[in-house]
Symmetry: C2
Subunit: 461 residues, 2 copies
């Protein structure tokens, strides 16, 4: 609680109290709209219910993602957005194949596995090898060079839930770079404990990375219950070798087309840089992309619409439904390249599920305290606190980062996000409509302020 009180004290010590207070009246229609959205928004739900029902999984670069783009463009049209476009780009596309895993000695039993994005293949005949158990990523780091020749590395580095999602940074390296590290020590394959906080029998997929020029080894994630079981197999093996049979046949299918879908609420002054609201339209292939990131697209579109309800905003509000985020930010990079010379007023992304927003962060909190405080006052009523953390922006905001532009992060409660992340369980039923509407309300309040703010944002160096 102390941190929060200090932050509030800092906010109230900011110079322009009077300015902020005079905003009170002007804010009214915007905040009334935001408060109404808290109780009755249906737009965000309609989007995420629709895309999960009528499209479902939409893997980057596939025909399913193309169907998602067509669906989203039709939806934006029906909702009255202007300047709707698909901005195509090419990408290297990875597809899942068969995937099975089985402990073969000293005991025999099947295990649930999912290949990680960019995983290599075992070939159609699979492979069988002895497994070397690393309780943590640090243990793998400490393994001598060459010590894994012919072996399967098992990295069991586990993850605990945190409200701010910081556990991902702690456990994530096991997935992000563990397979490449194991390969560099001679491993023929890597299995990791899922980077997830649930105990469901579903594997958490997600990308892993191999250095340029190296051959990817097969790399997969066991579900947490399977990783628990494999740890017990080691305990009960009492020194006997533990072997595993793996079959994983993912492949790169070459260059295919993806695309970014954009739409706008046009502002009164076309000469002013737009407010850019981002999410990503693609999803992993196992769930239906409800939490990640159908909800985010629904939230940003709903907020843009609600702001427009009480009058045409000063600035254009652009929504970016980015393509191909999951397998390497292809859409974010393409968008940044295509629009490099178009200034953005401020960028915000929703891509952390559908649970409540609890904290407001920006990268101009100190340099433009008036605006920050105006935003903080607008969202406090929805249970969102201020913070001196510096916003870094969502994955699809490469454009704004490359421009060195203003960013806002509306941090969502991530306590259960990694129960669902990149699994079959990322489905509509996991979305709490009440918390989804709180997101829409907060976004409506924030976007309402931003889209009607004429001065450029003062940024620190």
């Amino acid at each position: 609680m102390r941190t929060l009180l200090i932050a509030l004290a800092a906010a109230s010590a900011l110079p322009s109290i009077a300015a902020a207070q005079t905003m009170g009246a002007a804010e009214s229609p915007a905040l009334a709209e935001a408060e109404a959205a808290l109780d009755s928004d249906t737009i965000a739900w309609d989007f995420v219910e629709g895309i999960t029902t009528e499209v479902g999984p939409r893997m980057p670069g596939t025909e399913a993602e193309a169907r998602a783009r067509a669906w989203a463009m039709a939806w934006l049209r029906a909702e009255g957005f202007a300047n709707i476009a698909n901005e195509p780009f090419m990408m290297q596309t990875w597809e899942r194949g068969a995937e099975t895993a089985r402990v073969t000695a000293p005991f025999v039993q099947p295990m649930h596995i999912a290949a990680l994005g960019n995983s290599g293949t075992t070939g159609p005949d699979g492979l069988t090898a002895e497994v070397v158990y690393f309780p943590s990523y640090a243990d793998l780091v400490a393994a001598p060079a060459g010590s894994l020749v012919g072996k399967i590395a098992f990295i069991s580095h586990d993850m605990r839930p945190t409200q701010d999602g910081s556990g991902y940074g702690f456990a994530g390296p096991a997935r992000w770079t563990g397979p490449a590290l194991a390969a560099s020590k001679g491993a023929v394959a890597t299995v990791i404990r899922s980077i997830g906080t649930d105990n469901q029998r579903v594997s958490h997929t997600g990308n892993t990375t191999f250095p340029e020029g190296t051959t990817p080894i097969p790399a997969g994630a066991l579900s947490n219950p399977d990783a628990d079981n494999l740890e017990r197999v080691f305990a009960r093996a009492e020194g006997r070798p533990v072997t595993m049979e793996l079959l994983m046949t993912p492949r790169f299918i070459g260059e295919t087309e993806s695309g970014n879908v954009v739409g706008e609420i046009t502002g009164r002054d076309a000469s002013l840089p737009p407010v850019l609201l981002a999410c990503h339209l693609d999803s992993w292939d196992n769930g239906t992309g409800a939490f990640d990131d159908g909800a985010g697209c629904g939230i940003i579109a709903a907020a843009a619409k609600h702001v427009a309800t009480y009058g045409q905003p000063l600035r254009t509000i652009r929504v970016l439904f980015a393509g191909a985020e999951e397998t390497g930010l292809w859409g974010s990079r393409a968008y940044a390249a295509a629009h490099a010379d178009e200034p953005v007023f401020v960028g915000l992304e929703s891509d952390f599920g559908a649970d409540r927003v609890w904290r407001l962060e920006s990268n101009f909190t100190g340099s433009d305290p008036d605006l920050y405080r105006q935003l903080a006052q607008a969202v406090a009523r929805f249970g969102v606190g201020p913070s001196t953390n510096v916003a870094t922006g969502g994955a699809d905001l490469n454009l704004v980062r490359e421009q060195g532009g203003p960013l806002i992060d509306l941090q969502q409660d991530g306590t259960r996000y990694f129960d669902l992340h990149h699994t079959e369980n990322d489905t509509l039923d996991k979305i709490d409509p009440v918390q989804l509407r709180q997101n829409v309300a907060v976004w409506t309040a924030v976007v309402g302020v931003l889209a009607n703010h004429r001065p450029a944002i003062v940024q620190g160096e």
Copy 2:
């Protein structure tokens, strides 16, 4: 609360208060052992941890089930049981094949499906047909004869959790007889909403039954999130036909061997009929059989051992780890046939997970009130209440039912049982060690009374 108070009042109105009270002293070592088990039993956990780790899934009639028998016999030997035996029997064995499901119109997306036991096959090429939606089993019953010719029936009859598991009786028919009923009206296949109370992306398998002489149609269970999604597909189809592509290739592999494993704590008086404690050793092929029913075998064996700890019991305690329960009570029937002429003093089974026992039922509550009250007094300290419900015994107690013998049901809390039942999620991590030990304590108390009770149980007509 009123029901409980009435039941307690009825119990205290029973005639032999004095007799029960004189049992107080004699009970002491038994109850001290039971109370110690509540805090420190390790036997039940050792069994279920061991079999889920060293064997895992153990489908009836398969080599995995044979490994489970060998494992269980070695375990019983190590625990000091006597007269350990495998009693083999032959059975018709069904095995899962490939299984995929995909909505193909008016939208396209994959769905999670698992074939039901006894399901027919689609053949290797699968089948595609229009889906007819039945919100409940009653709706399917009401469908006219011949109305499903060439169609896939979708029965979405859903289930809610109940402490006593009674929701299974409400929702179960959709699985048990729904596919045969749909087939009788011409359906080429049936998909049901999983008979389960979770919203995880796992399908609940389990047996379905087709009448003698009919050809089984393909029958599978969608996970609850998938069934939700299919309902929404129907809502958004707005009258357009919904079609689904199914591939399921399970098959009967003919007659194979299964077996019942038995072991004993031998009593002082071999002329007295034994106390029979049952569980089943087999499991479905998707989980590791922790809740269903590794825990049950661990509980009954632990109780038998604890009773023996404070002195050789008067009567023999026999544990029956039945084979092949899941696909048709093959072990129960074989055991009943093989031992038909051997009287059993009383039969009890543990086969409803590992959550706490909350109610004591028997089929002699009214006819032998002294014994019933002695048992009720022994378990009240563990939070178990009396009941006038008539016990019917577990699935593997066909022998006792056919003998018209005494039965006790130690009812477990089933609130979350059907979250896990017959799914991949039936794994060790779901077992709460504290509640598992409460089971052992209650069973130790009850078996301690029974195995030292000389008079035959007075049974009503």
